[in-house]
Symmetry: C2
């Protein structure tokens, strides 16, 4: 059974302020929790209902407790609670080195506000084999329960880091692709083997300082009348085109190796 | 000032049951409402705050009333209400003719559940110049306020129709592209000039009956470890690749015409 202090502690983590204070965040559902168990994340505690499957490979340090579905409903962030809720440690901030941008592609987000958008971008980055997503300090917090939910477990695999974008972009020394309305068509863009893709805020797009550092303005051509695309959709279209080139060059390498 | 019956009438339209009963739905924000005013939709009434810009080209039949921001907050579906709320007539159901699939691309949605996903798909369809989206009867209702909001005005331009997909697909006589996990890479797929793209439910994908009618199984190649892509993201990737061919063939035609 969950004690009253336990209930109010878990519920406090619905709020950013207390997540920051305690260095913990919430993940829900046995499938998502299992992804975190098998990742580098430190698990603080797991509360599961009798319906939940047994989790494998759990460290003995993790507090584990059976609770009823009614108790889960009291502490869940979901309108339809699943079978498990886990408290996980927010990883310590690490430094982003300029060399780390070489020979890979990185997504950078400039003040994305919607948790669903950030979560979907992290999930998409994971699908397309990107290792990390770098967010401006003004971007919605990745440990917001709505973000965690929308990543569908991908947060366990993708490094989501927060830092000022401008100094990083200044030192990167690789192509910086900006999603902008008046640029080269993405259909005509060659991304090559390394680069940064910067995507802007839902309402305002890229900030002026970031825009100045973009080396390649890229546009997703419009064929109809919508004023803009959803930012998670734009991110996915960039990932698709970048990986199309990866696939083409892999095919070429295989042919050359024959 | 809004009377109590007016408030409870508008608030009743937050619910599907009453939208159906009254044949009305809600759109909010002067920008979105303006898109509907300039479309074929019949406007029932508009409530605006003193902050809202004046709407042009309004038919004299539309009831228009100034209200205070506090009154707007009482009837709004948004957590941050904007400057205007309009009640619009749900268009009558029209028949979908098999010939209408020829020489164009159509998106078909098989039981999409999330309002944000449907709204984003409608917005994306509008960006890429698709005229309509056909939804299975089990798909979330397009007049749900969350859907309307997520379309960002595109619902005013895109026909969203509900019908049984199986008979439509059976009679279509054009390529039917299904987003499936084990198909031809979308990078290797040639879409040509006409076709239907069917996208499945968030949890279960395409239903078995629809899957049987797919003539071209198409996969978005995975480079990382996510289990799946968000359905609105998948839809956008299909639209991107279809329009890449449109652009290429337009370029060819211009060259040939020289």
């Amino acid at each position: 059974m969950l004690s009253k202090p336990q209930i109010s502690f878990i519920k406090s983590l619905h709020q950013k302020k207390f997540r920051k204070e305690h260095g913990l965040f919430i993940a829900e559902g046995s499938k998502t929790v299992a992804e975190f168990v098998h990742s580098g994340y430190v698990i603080d505690s797991i509360y599961y209902t009798p319906q939940a499957p047994k989790l494998l490979n759990l460290s003995q340090k993790v507090k584990v407790q059976e609770i009823s579905p009614a108790e889960l409903a009291k502490v869940s962030t979901l309108s339809a609670p699943q079978d498990m809720i886990a408290l996980l440690c927010i990883p310590p901030k690490t430094q982003i080195l300029p060399e780390s941008f070489k020979q890979t592609f990185t997504l950078m987000l400039d003040d994305i506000q919607d948790p669903g958008n950030l979560g979907t971008i992290i999930r998409t980055a994971d699908w397309f084999g990107f290792d990390r997503v770098i967010c401006s300090p003004g971007t919605v917090e990745a440990y917001n329960p709505k973000v965690v939910q929308a990543t569908m477990g991908s947060l366990a695999r993708i490094d989501v880091m927060y830092d000022e974008l401008v100094p990083l972009l200044r030192d990167a020394q690789i192509p910086i692709y900006g999603a902008l309305l008046k640029g080269t068509s993405i259909y005509q863009t060659r991304f090559g083997r390394e680069g940064i893709v910067v995507l802007g805020n839902e309402g305002n797009g890229l900030s002026d300082e970031v825009k100045k550092l973009v080396t390649h303005q890229v546009t997703i051509p419009r064929f109809g009348q919508a004023e803009s695309l959803n930012v998670a959709v734009s991110a996915a279209i960039f990932c698709t085109k970048i990986r199309e080139e990866t696939e083409e060059s892999n095919v070429r390498e295989i042919k050359n190796g024959e």
